[in-house]
């Protein structure tokens, strides 16, 4: 069974540009979570989507946004990129909205802002 898949693996953008990251959850999972893992800061919760709706949002500015598609895949958009947005962006999924304490991560997308 395929795990959580993310693309692209690596992305280099210039400050001020927009980045789009994509995630496919484990088959049968409806909830998708996004986390940022920046050097020295640990994993920080970004967003939670379930059944196409945003259910929860972490302490990040509005330029971090996303959506979940009818097939439960998701994308994370980061607008007006800043240097400090350079980080590993991790997508995770859980079976449903009642299973959010057991989430399974993908390999992540490395975003570098120069």
């Amino acid at each position: 069974e395929a795990g959580v898949t993310q693309s692209p693996t690596h992305l280099i953008k210039t400050r001020g540009q927009q980045a789009t990251l994509r995630c496919s959850p484990i088959s049968g999972h409806t909830s998708v979570y996004w986390y940022q893992q920046a050097l020295g800061l640990g994993l920080q919760f970004l967003l939670w989507y379930d059944e196409g709706e945003e259910r929860n949002r972490g302490n990040f500015p509005p330029r971090f946004s996303g959506r979940q598609f009818p097939n439960y895949s998701s994308e994370l958009n980061v607008n007006a990129l800043e240097l400090e947005d350079s980080a590993l962006y991790l997508c995770a999924s859980s079976l449903d909205s009642y299973s959010g304490n057991t989430i399974y991560f993908g390999e992540g997308s490395w975003l570098t802002v120069v």
């Binding site: 259910r55 959010g100 989430i103």
Partner: protein
Amino acid sequence: QKEVEQDPGPLSVPEGAIVSLNCTYSNSAFQYFMWYRQYSRKGPELLMYTYSSGNKEDGRFTAQVDKSSKYISLFIRDSQPSDSATYLCAMSVDTYSGAGSYQLTFGKGTKLSVIP
């Protein structure tokens, strides 16, 4: 005070040793406690999941939660070089209860090296 504190290490042990990894936390509302293992440049892998206080064992891994002390531990018996990774503790307040749920709070991770 940070919500979750975890000694970043690095921790270096010889093969076969018993490893003890720990986290302390300040939010008494945390009820669910998880341990993740993260190999270099990979995503975190869920190792153990515990609800409330007590012990849970899975093979060479034992997770302990002491809610009265706000302290959780992960023990690794007969450690192997393949256990070399960063170990992250994570915790959350509650199961599904509408808005605000499932915001896992992670420690910064302890880097473990098991020397052959």
